[in-house]
Amino acid sequence: MNSDKKVISVRNLTKKFGSFTANDDLSFDVYQGEIFGFLGANGAGKTTAMKILCGLSYPTSGEIMVAGLDVYKQREELKRNIGYMSQKFSLYEDLTVFENIRFYAGIYGMSLKDIKLKSDDLLKKLDLVHARNKRIGELPLGWKQKLAFSVAIFHNPEIVFLDEPTGGVDPVTRRQFWDLIYEASRNGITVFVTTHYMDEAEYCNRVSIMVDGRIEALDTPEGLKNKFEAKDMDEVFLRLARKSNYKE
């Protein structure tokens, strides 16, 4: 499931807001089909970095290629090849499940016929056929999150960026959500995910941990646990995060 093909390549990424440095000289690679965990305390600079990778924000400096495209010059092409699920809920509450799918798939250029076929399959898989014509606002949060993820990868992007996708969701739904992530990864979609849940970090192929805008550690969960002589990711995280100057 992992390959040697780099889909994200970041060299010396720096982002400053005035005198505040949100991302300080980040360098890392993400390989095709990988589930890449992007961890860090609140305010560590995860979302900032992710927005730069998605073409939503300009970096101050650094060389960044995503899906083989330059985030400075090929921003719009890049957007065709990625999916994104933001922290804020991103589907339209006043539209139905199908209308949301049709809208997002439509603006990615899919034909109406493909949209219909694929959405039928999707709803069957999610066991949401009965909710096809229900408004998003009427659905429980867990269903909404699963749908939002499915919509984000509906146009078959190379990479999907997930910004704390399981916030506020119950453990069972979180587990189901991760099943969806695994499935996407098996289908060759690279998953770039930020999270606060350390058990979720264990599900990732590789994990980077950010502290105060820098990447302090980057390895497989096993590698990190060995290196820090920790029994689980929780402990790894606490050891690193304790070095932070930033207190909430």
Binding site: G55, S86, S90, L95, F103, I107
Partner: protein, 372 residues
Amino acid sequence: MRTIKFILQKEFLQIFRNKSMLPVIFVMPIIQLCVLVFAATYEMKNTNLFVVDKDLSSHSRELISKFNGSPFFTVKDIDFSINNAEDELLKDDVDAILVFENGFGKLVDKKEPAEVQVLVNAIDASAAGLYNAYILSVIQEYNLQLKAKLQIVGKDNGIHLVQNTYSFLFNPEMKYIPYMLPGILVLLVTVIGLFLSAMNVVREKEIGTIEQINVTPIKKYQFLIGKLIPFLVIGFFELGVGLLLAAFVFKIPILGSVWLIYLVAFVYLLTILGIGLLISTQTDTQQQAMFIAWFFMIIFIMMSGLFTPTDSMPMWGQKLNYLNPVAYFIKIIRMIMLKGSGFMDVAKELSILGVYAVAILGIAVNRYRKVA
């Protein structure tokens, strides 16, 4: 094109699904049109007059009877002293006081200039102007009759001519609604267009969907066109309803071409919606957008010539009005509806609006940032 189609589909679904906005969009303008056209009137009826007659001559009484006979005046009281009259004025029970000094009649008999003092309650300046004009015209008419009686008896023609002019001027019931309705129509189309568009993009910012849009390959102009067209359609619909009401309920003859009105409305709405979208892209909350839209709305309307003639504004105000799209449209729609002006007659104003529309939409597209 396909992208725009999908945006339009989504926008229309959202508009028609918003149960609290539907009546605002489709019913309120009609109610407002009916209420405003009938209520916001400059018509003069029942002006209460207090007469202070210190003269008590046949001449003063004759003039008073002219006021009594007029449908616009009610002579509330006649007294010798000004004190009571001033009390009534302070209580707002009378609108104007007419004072005949002692000796008025004698001066008239001697064919010398005789004076009548007119005191008008000017709290409401525009109403005061009307009272004054009405009172003067009654006095003028009396004056002419007096002249005829005293000097030029037998030459009826002159008198007749003047009286004709008089009845034309003071027949406002015929002239009032056609004058106000086109302007109010412009107002309604503007309010709906400006507010809906100003609130729209910023609403997506508030609920967070804008970020999802910005991460798609959607083009800025596609997004804004998709936002623009639904409001254009709503604006056209409202204009249509308003014109139908004008023609069949208010019975105003629309002298010019309805197509020309729509052509102008198209260019005008592009300008207004452009302003709204620009506000929307530059604000972060619906509250901010609302206040900024309101700020422009008030200035545009008060300076538009709807309530006060633009010609009597100070020069800087008239210059400022070159930037007021509402003023152009009110002027053009009145010309088309009331005078039957054609395309060439309104071409100058229309082309200014056109330049305005292109400029403001250009700025709006430019200022909408997909990247922070």
